[in-house]
């Protein structure tokens, strides 16, 4: 910190409201579901699981688009997002990714297209999982850009965990699905520990104040809680409880990161 002009923060805080973190949550879950759905079909797992996962992906896409549109200052101009393609703008890449993901996940519901569109939905789903990390990472906000390498895997694990959690709550109890959920929870545990132990000034909003508590609560609910619950019991009720924790954790994580960005903008001087 150096002297600033009457302690006026140099940066402007993000103008995004609750729609954007909710979009990160919905888009992540939809992207994760697309991957699980396609892989379940490829590997010939329970067809019911593949079908449900594809419906989550196809349903999550329009919800995502609606949330993003609602956050625009001029929602009626949402189509301007597809006016140009700008590789240097993660927001542009994200808009095209969401468009391609929506088309693919809808196509994957049509039996005749299910192979090609399913593959495309898994690939665009993987982009949906991760690009949001680059989106907030490639900004002037210190707490975001300092963590640009952490954010994509963090958000990917969060999205996969949400998708697995929704499927578990729908009654799916396949061992492979449980493995995927445990893998994501393990990744979130490691990432949570990293956030807790790395102390640079820019990391403060991730550990202090309301944003810090959101990140911490989100990390515990996404990581160790579902991991231990799934590891210690095979009871469906336990797995469902673990899934509720993972979903709440994912949502809190997304809300926490946006809140931390708002705090971080005010700190930079």
């Amino acid at each position: 910190m150096t002297t600033t002009y009457y302690d006026v923060p140099l940066l402007k805080p993000p103008v995004w409201t609750w729609e954007v973190p909710l979009y990160f949550f919905a888009g992540g879950a939809a992207g994760g579901a697309a991957i699980i759905g396609s892989i379940a079909e490829w590997t010939g797992a329970n067809g019911h699981l593949a079908r449900d996962a594809r419906w989550i992906a196809a349903g999550g896409a329009p919800i995502s688009a609606a949330l993003l549109t609602a956050d625009l200052g001029r929602p009626e101009r949402f189509v301007n997002m597809l006016r140009v393609f700008k590789p240097q703008s993660p927001m542009s890449i994200g808009s095209w990714t969401l468009a391609a993901f929506s088309a693919s996940t809808t196509g994957a519901l049509v039996p005749a297209l299910s192979k090609a569109a399913g593959t495309s939905s898994a690939l665009t789903g993987a982009a949906m999982l991760t690009y949001t990390g680059v989106l907030i990472g490639a900004t002037a906000i210190p707490v975001w850009h300092e963590n640009i390498r952490l954010l994509p895997p963090h958000f990917a694990a969060s999205g996969i965990a949400s998708a697995a959690a929704i499927l578990t709550l729908m009654g799916h109890d396949e061992p492979a699905l449980n493995d995927v959920a445990m893998g994501a929870a393990a990744a979130e545990t490691v990432i949570g520990a990293f956030v807790e132990t790395r102390s640079t000034p820019a990391m403060a909003p991730l550990r202090e104040g309301p944003s810090g508590w959101m990140i911490r609560a989100g990390g515990v609910l996404s990581g160790p809680v579902p991991l231990l619950m799934r590891a210690t019991s095979k009871k469906p009720t336990w797995r469902k409880a673990a899934s509720v924790a993972a979903l709440a954790g994912s949502l809190l994580t997304r809300l926490g990161w946006i809140a931390a960005g708002r705090v971080s903008a005010k700190m930079k001087g």
Partner: protein, 274 residues
């Protein structure tokens, strides 16, 4: 077309705020409140969606200088801040609609008929200049009076400035002028005069340059600043790796369990390759 720029010389600024008023009037920028800040004579405090010129009032310890003050009083320094019109502009790079463009004069311009108010430029600007106007929904900042420049006129703020603290002209001419001005100031004993244009950062220089006294940080002109596109490479590499692990990890879980239930890994791999 000539590449144009502002050179704002704080040693000539008298804090009259004519630039703020001229900008508001000419560009029809709405009022943004009547807050009394208590910070010197500055009730504007910062640039924003409805403040495209902002005169900062920096109070310093008494020092010999231009218009030298008496010993009992603070030394007062004013500078009219404005959008920097960066060579590598964070807002322009971030804009997903192509609303923000580079003009033929080298300035950075938001096309109001294209902007859809996504807000990504707000976090893309390393100087906290551009912002979304809540009453309108779109993002706004200094236009560098693009319409006036097209008509061969200088921007309204430069035109209104009564002391030539705000100079407008061809960028190389202004750079040369700034060098001469700094020499003059130093010859007069103003040792703390400094030139600022973020030229040695990833921003690559600005089309709004400044001469200030003392530490530029005190005027919210940072010495170390980055255009956020410098983070992209790390970000996309990490995203690609994470995407790969997400797909491979999920596939591994399903393949392993499939084998456990009697299916062969080989046939599953054949399915994937289809």
């Amino acid at each position: 077309m000539a590449t144009t720029a502002f050179l704002t010389d704080s040693t000539l600024c008298i804090g009259c705020k004519a630039c703020e008023v001229a900008c508001k009037e000419y560009n029809d920028v709405p009022a943004d409140g009547y807050a009394f800040t208590g910070q010197s004579y500055d009730n504007t405090l910062q640039l924003g969606h409805s403040t495209w010129r902002h005169v900062a009032f920096v109070e310093m310890d008494t020092a010999f200088g231009v218009g030298g003050n008496s010993g009992e009083q603070l030394s007062w320094s004013f500078v009219s801040d404005v959008c920097k019109h960066c060579e590598h502009a964070g807002c322009l790079e971030a804009c997903p609609t192509g609303s923000i463009v580079r003009t033929e004069f080298g300035s950075v311009y938001v096309q109001p008929d294209v902007c859809n108010g996504c807000g990504y430029c707000v976090v893309g600007c390393p100087f906290g200049v551009i912002d979304r106007r809540p009453t309108d929904g779109r993002a706004f900042k200094c236009t560098f009076c693009y319409d006036r420049q097209r008509d061969g006129e200088q921007p309204a703020c430069a035109k209104a400035c009564p002391t030539q603290s705000i100079l407008f002209g061809e960028i190389e001419d202004l750079r040369a002028h700034a060098e001469r001005r700094l020499e003059t100031l130093r010859a007069r004993g103003v040792d703390d005069a400094a030139f600022w244009d973020a030229g040695d950062t990833s921003v690559g220089g600005t089309h709004a340059m400044f001469i200030v006294r003392g530490d530029p940080e005190a005027y919210n002109l940072p010495q170390q600043v980055d255009v956020p596109t410098v983070y992209l490479e790390d970000g996309w590499k990490s995203a690609a790796a994470a995407a790969l692990v997400a797909i491979a990890g999920t596939a591994a879980a399903f393949l392993a369990r499939r084998r456990g239930h009697g299916g062969s890994t080989r046939s599953a791999l054949q399915r994937i390759s289809v």
